[in-house]
């Protein structure tokens, strides 16, 4: 143990503890900006670059960054004396002197670490009026990059490279011109970006935000000629409450449904319904491949990989196109929902697909891109018109002046709002494969499951594997969340180091509960863990917990599709993949 003094308080800490953490232990909050540490995920961003957390250490020539300086025996630290305050304020003024003053219209206003700091430090004027950075603003389908606001904290670069291994972003240039951008400063669309949105999730300022579609959704609802229906992804209900002051992990399913009705959606549906449908299709595909494999067909593409996550899909299209036969051809729940809504459901309503607007509420920004993929449209009319994030929904609720906390608990509409516990757990890592196992087991063995919970598939380890006993047949399952982990898993498979029958991959650490469209965790991973718990809680409370028992899905097959993998199913619910390696084309306007 090491004994030191911080702001006249004596404290003992373990060797290796930083000044920042030691101070936190005794309730002294040292402001930070670039520092980010998610210990559960082994995510660390400590470049020591922002210099906001500097403190005075007696006997040291210059100020020390608290986030990286380890405590030493007898150290005497001052975190808020006048030397520190003056330096910290000057550094903050410098950052602000190269930052646009458009807080009024900035998507991050009110939720911006830099703004918070400026308020806390009481900055009222900037004594410098020098040059400001001017870069091109980049609008991709999912992400808007306004890197004039970049403060070089490098969190996005770290997520994109170290954690996700996507490599779309890098620090470029030098000195004052240094900024995090893409290769050749091209648009994200020309990069291998998967739109996972983890860059947004960690950006402390408004440099990276989602492409906001709330205005267009309001316009659609206001249009009397349109039937506007909404679907909400499982992870949204476990996080939306945070935007309205609820403890992380509070389920707000009923209030959310009520709020969506209040906003004016004609039908309030549930993506969980489509998740159940996905299990029907994907489960059937798995069993089909397994059966063929067991019957001696060695060309069957195995393992089957889940394809619900659009960022993951784009990732393998860029980095592993040679493996494009392996993923399930099943569309994601969002797209299955859209396809059914604009076929089965418009028929039921007796309207055309052009008269229907499908909105989805997603924990994800890649879903925006997914809904814009041309193969998910019929005559340029997309199956899903707008994909909003959880944050955008919260903003809409506030815009409508809805008192969220006093809303009644309401239920989803039928038919596309009926769901099972299996659909709910799609929101957490391991959930999709557990849902698939619940169904595949019973369909394959024709026996009821003794225990519905597959605890062995749950957890927050980056890469997990488990064997499931399908009545004598051992099914090997691999799970990865985070694209860097996915890459490792895939490379192991490619090299023949591991054999799986089925693999689940989610791009975001923790799964959709920590998607790029969720309320910001501000570096506190306990928030994500609480959401994770809530998802399984919702599952446990559901009367039906297996997808193949969803009555509305069963009815839809009877009335419309026939059976899984039928011709119509293939047309509406399955897709194909592209080799996007060649997508990265130099396109410089010169």
């Amino acid at each position: 143990m090491i004994k030191l003094t911080i702001d006249k308080k004596t404290i003992e800490v373990e060797k290796g503890t930083t000044i920042l953490k030691a101070a936190r232990q005794i309730g002294i909050e040292i402001p930070t900006l670039c520092y980010l540490e998610l210990e559960d995920l082994n995510i660390k961003n400590k470049p020591g670059g922002c210099r906001i957390c500097v403190v005075e250490v007696e006997g040291r020539r210059n100020l020390a960054p608290a986030c990286v300086t380890e405590c030493t025996e007898g150290m005497v630290v001052h975190t808020h004396n006048v030397r520190v305050l003056n330096a910290r304020r000057t550094v903050l003024e410098l950052i602000l002197s190269d930052h646009p003053f458009d807080c009024l219209v900035c998507a991050k206003s009110g939720n911006c670490d830099l703004q918070d700091l400026a308020i806390k430090m009481g900055v009222r004027e900037i004594p410098y009026d020098g040059e400001k950075s001017t870069f091109i603003k980049d609008f991709s389908p999912s992400i808007i990059r306004d890197i004039d606001k970049c403060i070089m904290c490098r969190r996005c670069e770290m997520m994109c490279n170290d954690f996700q291994t996507v490599g779309a972003l890098s620090a470029i240039n030098r000195g004052f011109d240094a900024v995090v951008s893409t290769a050749f400063e091209q648009l994200l669309e020309k990069s291998p970006c998967t739109y996972c949105g983890q860059c947004i999730a960690v950006c402390p300022v408004g440099a990276l935000t989602e492409n906001d579609h709330t205005g267009r959704v309001i316009r659609a609802i206001a249009d009397p000629r349109k039937k506007v229906i909404v679907q909400t992804a499982p992870a949204v209900r476990a996080a939306l409450g945070e935007e309205f002051g609820y403890e992380p992990g509070t389920l707000v399913t009923g209030k959310m449904a009520a709020a969506l009705r209040e906003i004016g959606f004609d039908y309030v549906f549930d993506t969980d319904w489509a998740a159940d449908l996905t299990i029907w299709e994907e489960g059937a595909e798995l069993l089909d491949r397994l059966t063929r494999f067991l019957n001696g067909d060695k060309d069957v593409p195995l393992p089957l990989m889940t394809s619900c996550c659009p960022a993951w899909v784009k990732f393998f299209e860029h980095h592993f196109p040679e493996m494009s036969k392996i993923p399930s051809t099943a569309k994601s729940p969002q797209q299955m929902f859209g396809a059914i809504a604009k076929s089965y459901f418009v028929e039921k309503l007796g309207i055309t697909r052009e008269e229907m607007v499908v909105v989805s509420i997603m924990p994800c920004v890649a879903k925006k891109y997914e809904s814009s993929r041309p193969e998910f449209a019929v005559d340029d009319n997309p199956d899903v018109d707008f994909a909003l994030t959880t944050r955008e929904l919260a903003a809409m609720i506030r815009q409508h002046n809805i008192d969220f906390r006093s809303l009644p608990e309401e239920d989803f509409d039928r038919p596309l709002g009926e769901s099972t516990g299996a659909g709910v757990i799609f929101g957490a890592t391991g959930g999709v494969i557990e849902a698939a196992c619940r169904t595949a087991y019973e369909v394959f063995t024709k026996k009821p499951l003794a225990k519905i919970d597959f605890e062995e598939l749950r957890g927050l380890e980056g890469i997990r594997s488990a064997s499931i006993d399908f009545d004598g047949l051992e099914i090997k399952i691999g799970i990865a969340h985070g694209l860097g982990n996915a890459r490792k898993l895939l490379e192991d498979i490619k090299a023949g180091r591991s054999e799986y029958h089925a693999i689940e991959i989610m791009a975001c650490p923790g799964g959709c509960i920590n998607g790029g469209g969720q309320p910001l965790h501000h570096g506190n991973f306990d928030v994500v863990k609480a959401r994770w718990k809530a998802i399984y809680e919702e599952d446990a409370n559901k009367p039906i917990r297996k997808s193949h028992e969803n009555p509305e899905v069963i009815r839809m097959y009877e009335e419309y599709l026939g059976e899984p993998m039928s011709e119509l199913s293939h047309k509406l619910l399955h897709t194909h993949y592209f080799d996007r390696r060649s997508d990265i084309v130099i396109d410089l306007e010169k």
């Binding site: 972003l169 890098s170 290769a183 990069s191 990265i584």
Partner: protein
């Protein structure tokens, strides 16, 4: 599967050869970039794409490295690259005025290449010939004790 780029096959081969001479080791990126710039005269985006592909690193990273080091350039140098030493010794002996004169005479700024591709202008930090300050280099040739009046003469030596 290959990267779709507008480079001739022989150019791609040249880059691949450079990369493989360094065992396609990403740690040798800077040496690879040096050799590639020696070969092409500059590092256009297409060349960086191939290097990234060969070394299996994101092209954004390659670009990040290229834009970090002042030795690397994405703009082709002129046939006669003019460099003015802006080391302190040259500065205090009037290098800035010499640079200004070159700017005026050539009509380009440091980092630029004249439209006819003949001259490019750059300032560099100390070639170590401080005894001859201020120093100007055209290609490999060193001119010492250059005054603003000499600038016209130096350019005339190369004008075609």
């Amino acid at each position: 599967m290959s990267v779709k780029i507008a480079l001739k096959e022989e150019h791609i081969k040249a880059i691949r050869d450079i990369c493989s001479s360094f065992n396609n080791d990403p740690g040798e990126l800077i040496n690879v970039l040096h050799k590639s710039q020696d070969h092409f005269g500059y590092l256009p985006a297409e060349v960086q794409e191939v290097i990234a592909h060969e070394l299996r690193i994101p092209v954004a990273k390659v670009f990040g490295v290229v834009t970090f080091y002042s030795f690397f350039t994405m703009i082709p140098k002129g046939k006669y690259p003019v460099s003015i030493c802006m080391g302190t010794a040259c500065y205090v002996r009037g290098a800035e005025k010499v640079l200004d004169e070159f700017k005026k005479q050539l009509g380009i700024k440091p980092g630029e290449t004249s439209e006819d591709g003949q001259f490019s202008l750059s300032s560099l930090r100390c070639v170590g010939a401080c005894g001859l300050a201020p120093v100007v280099m055209v290609g490999e040739k060193v001119y010492g004790r250059v005054s603003t009046e000499d600038v016209k003469k130096i350019i005339a030596e190369y004008k075609e």
